[in-house]
Subunit: 112 residues, 2 copies
DNA sequence: ATCGTACTACGACAGTCATCGTAATACGAC
DNA sequence: GTCGTATTACGATGACTGTCGTAGTACGAT
């Protein structure tokens, strides 16, 4: 591998089903909530998921390919951030409602 | 089969991931939009999905088990309706944003 | 150039999912 | 009871998903 450019869907390519599907997983929801909380970028390694590294990579890719997050390489780190503006434009209120619902629910519901 | 009672999750058993997952399918989204549009109940046969009957049954069950719709038998018909109040209470604004997003997007995006 | 950290690619695996056809059940009308 | 409509149960199938370990690449620091 030598390509250090990550493919992202253009705004008009983002599909509602794909976004919902991407959000319908505890690990991915955790990533989204983390990014929403901190507001900016985060390296994959900052967010510790309850899964292996390779599984983590998989989840980040699903989020990116659905158009939920943006990812760029910065040195050895891969920084992720929410595509909040894009999502809000396409699906007003969706992201906020999912995030606040996820944040509010009891910890007992946080795992699959 | 002689049981004519359908199991539904109680409000407190409804889980965000399950709801998102249930909504992340074109056929099921179509059912939800139809029910939202008409406001009340509808028989399975009123909503024609682009899938076979048995697949339709499967999708209705997924929606019901996720807590998105309510189903009751009325004669030979099985009437479905949105659990809008329950969902709004749990995840404010979520359902509305999904429905309006689904309704607004171009027809070219309506199929998987 | 070597090392360590961060991340990925690949292949494997078990589990779930969407799909269907066929056969069967439930109920109302006759 | 018989018929027709509405829906389901069952089993099969192919595709996708989440999971992982191993081996590898990319990059910054030394």
């Amino acid at each position: 591998m030598s390509v250090r450019v990550l493919e992202h869907p253009r705004v008009e390519e983002i599909r509602l089903e794909a976004v919902l599907r991407a959000l319908a997983d505890p690990a991915r929801l955790e990533v989204v909530c983390f990014l929403a909380r901190t507001g900016g970028e985060a390296a994959c390694s900052e967010i510790d998921l309850a899964v292996s590294k390779s599984t983590g990579t998989h989840h980040y890719r699903v989020l990116r390919e659905a158009g939920v997050i943006n990812q760029v390489y910065r040195g050895t780190a891969k920084m992720s951030s929410l595509r909040k503006a894009d999502l809000d434009a396409l699906f007003p209120c969706l992201l906020d409602s999912v995030i606040s619902a996820a944040a509010k629910r009891p910890r007992t519901q946080r795992n699959k």
